[in-house]
């Protein structure tokens, strides 16, 4: 990842703040503000990618924007160039990029096209309308036409099997952004959102930094931490959900419902007669015909659970017959895919992992075990044992204490307490 940045040469360069910069004039998100505050004239571009609080790709993009807007100058490139770029940015009509250094006549792309690619890429963070080169009032078909035109110019297939050098990654980046612009502007709902946010944002004076349009991944880093086990219902996702709404005429819908009901009945008959795979297939079809019926989904889960139980059972049996430990471990782990919370399997996998000295994995499974049955002291003891083997004595004893609070007289707890005691008193005896 992070492959789509400007190449290794750029990574070693050191950005510093432009001498005449007044940060108060800028409009930045907190994350971008943080990134700006890390720029001290000593930290390299590459290091910033890792400490910037954003993904490396986004740091790349943000730094490129900063540079283009004259917020920062980058050492090793010469102040003259930065000044020129800053000047160009103040006059977007003449937004030419001094790309000579990056143009390479030996590549399989004509030099003039290379220049066009670099120019277009430097303006990727423009609002979507501008990116596609259409008016805010453009009709759907104009948006599509603009997308197709840009696709034909910048889609990587245009240079299939040619030596594209660093332009390969640039073309991919350009096309992804163009496709994103088209995707969001061609849906009325997302387009309205974009227009609203553009309207609410006063057009900033030229030469200043402008926030990218909403809905991009740019802001994800600043989103609040999501609740347990849930996906962040990001804005992008809401937009996608709206876009993916089904549009089916009512007559067809009624026919489909009838069909779905028949399939559901067939599935129940199959399940009743023990043919679970067949039942699952019919049920899946029923859901395909009528995805809104909750009954089908729960029916499907039930059948799927039976299929999985059968599969897990078969795998467990196979694992029991396996003579090689590695093979048994593999089979058991597969069984866990079908029955993730099965206590006995978790226990066996955890102890096999310990035997195989795969402590990281063992810990993962032991933690799951504790999660599934926090009321069983022995699980805590098992986790404590893994942590002790990993040499994490403080955490091991904390785990043991949690177990002891559940049941201090549990034999496993007692045994583990003894082992912990020994490993502390005998240095190097962690095993």
């Amino acid at each position: 990842m992070g492959s789509s940045n400007g190449g290794s040469g750029e990574q070693e360069r050191i950005p510093r703040l432009a001498p005449d910069l007044d940060p108060e004039d800028l409009e930045l998100t907190p994350v971008e503000g943080f990134l700006l505050s890390r720029i001290d004239g000593a930290t390299s571009w590459k290091t910033l990618c890792h400490i910037g609080g954003l993904s490396p790709l986004e740091v790349d993009r943000a730094l490129e924007r900063f540079e283009a807007k004259g917020v920062i100058v980058v050492e090793g490139k010469g102040g003259a160039r930065a000044a020129k770029i800053a000047a160009a940015a103040r006059d977007p009509k003449k937004a030419l990029v001094d790309a000579k250094a990056q143009v390479d006549a030996s590549l399989g792309i004509p030099v003039d096209l290379q220049q066009r690619i670099l120019e277009f890429e430097s303006g990727l963070e423009r609002p979507y309308h501008e990116l596609l080169g259409v008016d805010r009032s453009a009709e759907a078909k104009d948006i599509k036409r603009a997308y197709f035109k840009l696709s034909r110019e910048y889609h990587p297939d245009r240079y299939y099997r040619r030596n594209t050098g660093h332009f390969g990654a640039r073309l991919e980046r350009i096309f992804r952004k163009v496709a994103e612009a088209y995707e969001l502007l061609s849906d009325p709902t997302t387009r309205a959102e974009i227009e609203k946010s553009l309207a609410s944002m006063p057009s900033p004076p030229e030469g200043e930094y402008r926030q990218a349009a909403p809905g991009t991944t740019e802001r994800i880093g600043a989103e609040p931490a999501p609740p347990r086990g849930q996906r962040v219902p990001g804005r992008m996702e809401n937009l996608e959900r709206l876009r993916n709404r089904f549009k089916i005429p009512p007559k067809l819908l009624a026919e489909r419902r009838v069909r779905a009901r028949q399939l559901y009945q067939a599935a129940r008959v199959s399940a009743h007669e023990g043919r679970f795979l067949e039942a699952a297939a019919s049920m899946r079809l029923a859901i395909a015909f009528d995805p809104w019926e909750k009954e089908f989904k729960s029916g499907f889960s039930d059948i799927q659970a039976q299929v999985h139980a059968a599969r897990a059972e078969a795998l467990l049996k196979e694992a029991g017959d396996a003579t090689a430990q590695g093979e048994a471990l593999r089979l058991l782990e597969e069984a866990l895919n079908y029955r993730p919370c099965h206590v006995e399997t978790l226990k066996r996998v955890a102890s096999l992992c310990i035997d195989a000295r795969e402590l990281e994995k063992a810990r993962e499974y032991a933690e799951q075990l504790v999660e599934v049955e926090p009321e069983v002291a022995a699980h805590h003891a098992l986790l404590a044992g893994v942590l002790r083997r990993q040499g994490l004595h403080a955490q091991a004893s904390a785990a043991l204490e949690r177990g002891a609070r559940v049941d201090a007289r549990d034999p496993e707890i007692k045994a583990e307490r003894l082992r912990q005691h020994r490993s502390r008193t005998r240095p190097g005896g962690a095993a």
């Binding site: 696709s151 034909r152 991919e172 992804r176 994800i220 067809l252 067949e278």
Partner: protein
């Protein structure tokens, strides 16, 4: 620059084309036919037969003749389609090591990719003979609804045949390219493809050389062979009535009758009346019997009318799925030999309110389209661009066993999407990222592409760490997944290649093995 061939690897027949002197040429095989049956057989003397040779002995050597293996490729042995195939096909199908289906021919077990590979090798040979030069690059077509595994298995088949598969493209898209549609203004196109064994209908949108699939529907168990079967049954019944002899268990008679029925069907596309004339079809106490039956176009239409009606039901559904009115379709394209039948053309014309495009040879247009795409990829011609999409959604499994989609199906590639996830336990030190593909809500009902662990997450209360998971698909369809802990900056990633049902080693082994077989050409 080496030439790229386009191959329509069909369920019943296959076809190969190339761009020669700027014009598409459909390459005839040694027998002069422009399509070859997608059949493979091993004769009783151990000789391998492909194409027409295999077809000519298909009924008499039914157990060792493989046809329509495309219906099995990339499917799990326990899938419903497979169950149907097990009932229908006379050859032996067994479960392979990866829950795939393998086919036993004359005691040797073949994977479906290998069978397709044998057919592709034959098409490669046909092209090389015609061009007088070696051919290594190909574009192969598949139905629009094929998933990544089926596509990958088809790619593997190409590898086994000694071909480098530049792209796998959708059959309806290839057909549209072949008709040269969509170069200028925006057009909506319906592709009605009635082949030997399958029926597909797709609605495409084309504009300025860019093609998008809007909807697709069809029936994988309906095609021209059903028409033949109806004729055969009809004639068998007539013969029984008039001559008192039941030929249905006589394999040699059936083989002759099936060949004749197919020919009569083709004749009736241009003639009003034809006859099936099979001398010495049977023997009884009164001596040799001859079969001589006259069939009119009306008879044929009454025999198969309901099948054609059924295809129109799929057409209606597909047009509705695309959210369109039939009148909004600008062009209707017919593909597949069976669309030569006047009844098919009448019904299609009536439904769409306009006559369909039909080149002279609807069974060759898909191969031509594939050749055009191959040419576009490697040459300097730039008037065309195919926008590839992901056929199925991609995402990861969540802790509670759900499937979190990051990239929706039908998203144009290349694409990159990312999302932030978090931990579910206090001080959790590692998360396992399971990469899945499919449309089901529950994680384990989807196809797993790969997994990896992001470890050394600094201790924090559950729900606090922010783990950004990014999916990146490049123009060649290669998926890269990475996970990054925002606080520590630690990052882990994997490159996922959708795998077929064969391992790389198996494929290499088969490439060597099959290169040794010098297959007999067409007679």
């Amino acid at each position: 620059m080496s030439r790229v061939i386009g191959i329509d690897l069909g369920t019943t027949n296959s076809c190969v084309a190339v761009i020669d002197g700027g014009k598409p040429v459909v390459i005839p095989n040694t027998g002069g036919y422009k399509t070859s049956p997608s059949m493979f057989a091993i004769a009783p003397d151990g000789k391998r037969l492909v194409g027409h040779l295999a077809k000519r002995q298909a009924i008499t050597n039914a157990r060792n003749t493989v046809y329509a293996s495309k219906r099995l490729i990339g499917r799990r042995y326990d899938s419903p389609e497979m169950k149907r195939a097990l009932d229908l096909f006379p050859y032996e199908i067994v479960e392979g090591p990866n829950q795939d289906a393998r086919i036993v021919v004359a005691g040797k077990t073949f994977s479906c990719s290998e069978i397709s590979g044998i057919i592709l090798r034959e098409m490669k040979r046909v092209a090389e003979e015609y061009l007088g030069e070696p051919v290594s690059d190909a574009v192969i077509t598949v139905p629009a609804y094929f998933n990544d595994t089926q596509r990958q298995c088809t790619k593997d088949a190409g590898k086994i045949a000694g071909l480098e598969v530049l792209r796998i493209i959708n059959e309806p898209t290839a057909a549209a390219l072949a008709y040269g549609l969509g170069h200028n203004r925006e057009e909506k196109i319906a592709v009605y493809d009635l082949g030997g064994g399958t029926f597909d209908i797709s609605i495409l949108e084309l504009a300025e050389g860019v093609v998008e699939v809007l909807a697709t529907a069809g029936n994988t168990f309906l095609g021209g062979e059903d028409f033949d079967r109806r004729i055969v049954d009809h004639v068998l019944e007539l013969f029984k009535k008039t001559e008192g002899i039941d030929l249905s268990d006589d394999l040699m008679a059936r083989q002759r009758l099936k060949d004749a029925a197919e020919k009569a069907k083709c004749d009736l596309s241009t003639l009003q009346t034809t006859e099936i004339n099979l001398p010495f079809i049977a023997n009884d106490h009164s001596g040799a019997r001859h079969l001589n039956v006259e069939i009119t176009r009306e008879t044929l239409e009454s025999l198969v009318g309901d099948i054609v009606e059924r295809t129109m039901k799929s057409v209606e559904q597909c047009v509705a799925d695309a959210g369109l009115d039939p009148r909004a379709i600008d062009h209707v394209v017919l593909v597949g030999g069976q669309t030569r039948m006047p009844l098919v053309q009448q019904l299609v014309t009536k439904y769409f309110g306009k006559p369909p495009h039909r080149g002279v040879n609807p069974d060759e247009v898909v191969a031509v389209g594939a050749a055009i795409q191959g040419r576009v990829l490697v040459s300097d011609e730039r008037d065309l661009l195919l926008l590839d999409v992901t056929p199925l959604s991609l995402g990861i499994a969540t802790f509670d066993g759900h499937f979190a989609t990051l990239i929706q199906r039908n998203t144009t590639v290349p694409v990159r999407k990312s999302h932030v996830f978090t931990t579910t336990r206090d001080n959790q030190s590692a998360v396992k990222i399971r990469v899945l593909q499919g449309e089901a809500e529950r994680a384990d009902e989807n196809h797993m592409l790969g997994e990896f662990v992001l470890s050394d997450i600094p201790p924090a209360p559950k729900g606090q760490p922010e783990i950004e998971v990014s999916f990146d698909i490049d123009a060649n369809g290669i998926v890269n997944v990475s996970a990054r802990d925002q606080s520590s900056g630690r990052e882990q990633s994997i490159t996922v290649r959708t795998t077929g049902t064969l391992s790389e080693d198996e494929i290499q082994q088969l490439v060597r093995e099959n290169a040794e077989y010098e297959l007999p050409g067409e007679a």
